[in-house]
Subunit: 269 residues, 3 copies
């Protein structure tokens, strides 16, 4: 896959303006909604048990994010996922912090067992814990382990029968057979909360407007990494920090040009 | 009404610093609180069943926003609204997403039936669904329908016996008799989540410090639209996007001068 | 204590990167998480009854913030606090709005009675209400009462057997014996929601990496005030308002240099 596909799929999102139903965490709600809007998609956050089935089946994709989950939001996630599945709406899971508590791990495992996710995105520790390969996890940020990362992603994709994205310095995307590595991105992403969560939503927008989940996910991860680079460049000369980077990243999801995509795109397959 | 009234009522808000009790949605909580503070009012977000009656009756206005409602927050809304009503505290409703699920529609209808709202602000689809005139609604953003908008607003105001604000490219404000149209505003407002929600809070601040709800609401909508224009102008030369616009809008609620209000104010009655 | 200690303790935080478990309010979650990250610590927000004990005992400090509490989050706070106490994890309480409702006051009192907090940070009205000396409180912002503030802080520290921070134009820190007064800070802090909440988290990060809570708290308050000054200076020439100040403050927690700390530090003991 090359930059032309990234450009095309990003344009598809903008034209189709897919509705992305989120059951997500409190910390990143505003950032995610603004990022999704800036990308050109339409976010809806709705959590009530009484309505999530109706909202999910009318959406173009469903994002389940476990960040600040409670038993109530887990119940809403299950209802929404079941409804999405019946309606053919793709489900993207962000297993935030799986491994940080046994409850969190069991909820994550239950979701991937009970529902057909199209994509699961997490860091090394989250993906490892999700498939029962427990690894040290501290908070929601885990150390990269470059050499085992790709094999972990492949095992997870095969076991869970889904596209897996393992993010870190290099991002791995695989369906268990084909593997892509993305070198786009910027270290500033680690200094802002919810940048992984927002990527998950960007993936949801891309896969909702393209028939091939693996290709759409790869394009989404590349586009997001490129936007992250453009954002870093935009604040560099003013010597700004993570506060401004958060804002610049939102801007970049809207303003990154096709020329930047073509110039910066670094996908290895 | 002209710009002089807008200037005066905005000054009233700053001097009286009204306390606005919000039961609002998770996505916009921080943005709303900062916008209300920047305007010169005092936001309080409190949701516990055990305390909302006490908080609401001590407030200068109560904002009910249905964005990420659950059965619990709906229960809190009802208790707060009942208490506000008894204490003579004006209630402003933002029926976010009414029409997007049957639960949401029924909750919205119940609130306007059971409580005396001073103002209800929504887009075309939300207001239409609230009075049982269902319209296609996709997410929380609905297509404008300019020619029917004014009549819809009048019907809603009469049926619900409240001031209605229908926002869109042009904003309509009516009590069912008098109608104002506001042309202030900026397209960037549609690229940031919660700009409608924040307007609802600005309206609450204005009506809490002025005896005439229709006039105060009109001034609030005009002021907000003017601030939105100033915010757009402030980021234009730096070629910034929706991330920076969100920040610039918060700034503008504080920094918009009386001269800008007089220069830009566009109220048609 | 002088600026050298502030510099050292800030470096400790950066090196140790403590994990700060928050049970905090909806309004400030994103701002707090980004502020803590920018400081160099690692925030985790987790609220589920089923997991808070496990998360709290593995953390380096626990922050309890009462802002948008409900009976559910209060239950989570108690479980987390009990677990933290057993594991020797320091607890920092932010009694947001205590005095604004009888429920809120009773919850605040219960927490300080039932658990050993290391530090409690609030404004005059919150601290007064927490120890049963009710004072007029309007919203969450209370008027300063400079001459009584220090005595109030000492009484509270003795009664609750904890370090007390009373913030305002001047900040008071005391363990009931020693008293420090910090003159650092900027009036812009009052125009952004959650700046007090974020200070509470900064205090948690400092005390989690230093054996002396009083000293660590004093250093944290001074550092935060200095960062607030640097943030104000960074937006002054561009004539920006509270929206940009929020972002600049996040930046400043990362970018404030040791030279700025040495130049600006104003601690009176």
């Amino acid at each position: 896959m090359d930059s032309t596909t990234v450009v095309q799929l990003r344009e598809h999102v903008r034209k189709k303006r897919p509705l992305i139903h989120h059951i997500t965490n409190i910390v990143v709600s505003n950032f995610t909604a603004n990022g999704v809007l800036s990308l050109g998609a339409s976010p809806v956050m709705a959590y009530a048990i009484e309505e999530v089935e109706e909202i999910a089946q009318a959406a173009d994709a469903l994002v389940l994010n476990m960040g600040t989950m409670t038993s109530q939001s887990v119940e809403a996630m299950k209802l929404a996922a079941s409804s999405a599945e019946k309606a053919g709406v793709p489900i993207v899971l962000d297993p935030v912090g799986v491994g940080a508590s046994s409850y969190r791990t069991s909820v994550g495992k239950r979701i991937v067992e009970d529902f057909d996710t199209s994509v699961v995105r997490g860091n090394v520790a989250e993906i490892a814990n999700l498939i029962g390969e427990s690894t040290f996890i501290r908070g929601v940020d885990a150390p990269d382990d470059a050499k085992n990362k790709e094999n972990l992603a492949i095992r997870a994709a095969k076991k869970l029968n889904t596209v897996i994205v393992v993010t870190g310095e290099e991002d791995i995307i695989t369906d268990g057979e084909k593997v892509s590595r993305i070198e786009n991105g910027d270290p500033m992403l680690t200094q802002v909360t919810g940048t992984g969560c927002l990527l998950t939503s960007v993936i949801a927008a891309f896969i909702s407007t393209h028939p091939n989940s693996l290709e759409a996910t790869t394009a989404a991860v590349a586009f997001y990494g490129i936007a992250a680079e453009c954002a870093a460049e935009s604040i560099k000369e003013d010597l700004k920090g993570p506060g401004h980077y958060q804002i610049a990243l939102i801007d970049a999801l809207h303003m990154t040009t096709n020329e930047e995509i073509e110039k910066r795109c670094s996908i290895n397959t």
